[in-house]
Symmetry: C2
Subunit: 239 residues, 2 copies
């Protein structure tokens, strides 16, 4: 890497966290210039650019700054407290209803996210109606801890509903403060209640029409990223 | 092109049509081998492979045959009689309703197709409700001829509806036999009536939810091609 140039989204950190400081590594590897999209505002980790300059490495800030901020948003939200993602699965005709809306690829993608979140937040209505498992079996990972937000006391829920039988799972009825990466999963009512406090939306949409009622909450989603998973479309959106 | 290899979807033609025979050009340019996906079954144009072989050019059929057939379907349907495309524009929540559903890019794409079709087929309901122009102004091309399928006599339609004021436009009430490339544009009722005789569907879908009712005809679309146009998604589908 001698005399190489690096392009990074976030200012390389200067502190020893779980891993050694990135700025030190750039210096040791002999990089000559680092382009940084977004300055690190975090008090503990910042100062990487100063360190690099002292080592004689050229530093330039603000390259593709807006794009960098979008890529970093989940991390920065998480770093400052909580990142909240809302997952919505719709048929092509805009209905979240029906036992299975998305295809295997989309559901596996969702399970991969379930495997890395701190908490899955769901409503009591979904649980009583759909009797879900809400685990991460499609990627063979540990099922996420759950927070069930319900006006009813969950002690009265049928404990034969599969999600209650998942081993080593914590079930909360209020969001614990230590949960930093949260995924909300639900339908129209859940979306209506929480849309304004959600950071990003993960929306899957199939290529099928059915005869179910659609979601009818007027919302303009701004796509940040979209792609296809087999016959489904999916995207990361902001409001 | 001496000793080059060509890969073609359809067997090169051997006849003089609007343009000279393709097979002759391959021979004159000195190609050494032609891979052909689909054999030309058309009586007038076929025989290109035989011609090529006589000129000492190697020919191999059936490469990516299924993919080739999909690409050729609109052409082959058109060649044999008619190719019928149904255009549907939906909001993310599956509603075709509302004055403007798709964005400028999607509507311009539609206008580009309107500019090359032989006939635009619409229902009387759309015309009475939406008062459309149904022209190709977004790509500055000639407006397509129209076929209005309506149980009501179109003589009784309000002639101030913009589509009637487009100059040099033929308006039919039955599909004329000389029309070979047809685009149907409509909403739920039109889709329900014609879905089984349509060859392909062109579906645009926005990134917005609204409070309108969705289409509720159970249909599983198979995507042949999909992409994005700004915040909209679009695709070519078969049933």
């Amino acid at each position: 890497f001698k005399d190489s140039i690096a392009f990074v989204t976030l200012e390389p950190c200067s502190h020893q966290g779980k891993t050694p400081p990135c700025a030190k590594l750039f210096s040791e590897l002999g990089f000559k210039k680092i382009f940084i999209s977004v300055k690190d505002e975090n008090k503990i980790a910042s100062g990487g650019a100063e360190f690099l300059k002292k080592q004689g490495i050229e530093v330039e800030f603000d390259i593709l700054k807006e794009e960098g901020k979008k890529l970093l948003k989940p991390f920065l939200k998480w770093q400052k407290g909580q990142f909240k993602l809302f997952k919505l699965a719709l048929s092509m005709n805009g209905s979240p209803l029906g036992k299975i809306v998305s295809n295997d690829l989309s559901r596996t993608y969702t399970h991969k996210i379930r495997a890395v979140i701190d908490l899955l937040v769901v409503g009591g209505e979904t649980i009583r109606k759909d009797h879900p498992i809400l685990d991460a079996r499609l990627c063979k990972a540990k099922a996420p801890n759950l927070c069930i937000l319900s006006r009813q006391n969950i002690d009265n829920f049928d404990k034969n509903i599969p999600l209650f039988k998942v081993p080593n799972r914590q079930i909360y009825t209020q969001i614990p403060s230590e949960a930093k990466f949260l995924m909300y999963e639900g339908g129209e009512n859940f979306l209506k209640i929480f849309k304004d406090e959600i950071d990003m939306f993960l929306i899957f949409q199939s290529s099928s029409l059915n005869d179910e009622k659609n979601v009818t909450i007027p919302l303009n989603f701004k796509p940040l990223y979209r792609n296809f998973l087999g016959s489904d479309t999916y995207g990361i959106y902001e409001l």
